[in-house]
Symmetry: C2
Subunit: 133 residues, 2 copies
């Protein structure tokens, strides 16, 4: 891990997601996109075959999961291992880099899951005062 808690200073790195032209913005979108985040989160538990992953990431289509895995593999976050068995078996697992991303993503996911009662209460208050708009 190359970052430190000194955020303001650290943010003056070569890469800055706040700049629209920075390539880090695209990678952030791959890892936080709807299916990217859930796929990395699922792989945090270990190695999966394609169909196992599809069951875990409830609601993803075959096409979207395939695209998501390709993008994550290209960014060096997921390793695809084709075993020369008959029938051939393909496993997906996190790389060291992908594990670092998934760890931070899971911290975010668990925080959100753990505070959903507060989120739903806030929504109720908002909809009451704003008339549901």
């Amino acid at each position: 891990m190359t970052t430190t808690p000194e955020r303001a200073a650290e943010r003056d790195l070569a890469y800055d997601v706040f700049s629209r032209a920075c390539p880090s913005r695209g990678t952030l979108e791959h890892v936080t996109g709807r299916w990217g985040a859930l796929t990395l989160g699922a792989l945090y538990d270990g190695s999966f075959r394609f169909n196992e992953l599809r069951r875990r990431v409830d609601g993803v289509s075959e096409k979207m999961l395939s695209q998501t895995l390709h993008a994550l593999e290209r960014d060096g976050l997921v390793h695809r291992e084709a075993h020369p068995t008959n029938p051939p078996r393909v496993d997906y697992e996190l790389t060291e880099l992908g594990r670092g991303v998934a760890e931070r993503l899971m911290a975010l996911i668990e925080f959100v899951e753990g505070r959903m009662d507060d989120v739903l209460a806030a929504r109720g208050r908002y909809d009451e005062t704003r008339g549901g708009r």
Copy 2:
């Protein structure tokens, strides 16, 4: 914070982003969506007016920023403060809940920014062996 490092056990909470019907999935999408993540990240630095935020979140349209702020406000992550000045002034800032989300999001963003050299190197290798597909 209600989560602990015992991930597998903790994930058996009432809320589970991996289930498509769980409301936590929608909230995860609000906070990790393209503009949601950058808006929360920007507000992590303090309170902003609408136009200041728009400059910070490079590339966002007025309409998208407005929609993003409404969704984050409704989820209880952002507080909107309208000051009775002339002309009226509206400030946006994180709530305590929003700060908890933004902290974890910034840890993710900084990790990705800090490892972009590795990501770009992986992309180069992938495109070479796959012929750029």
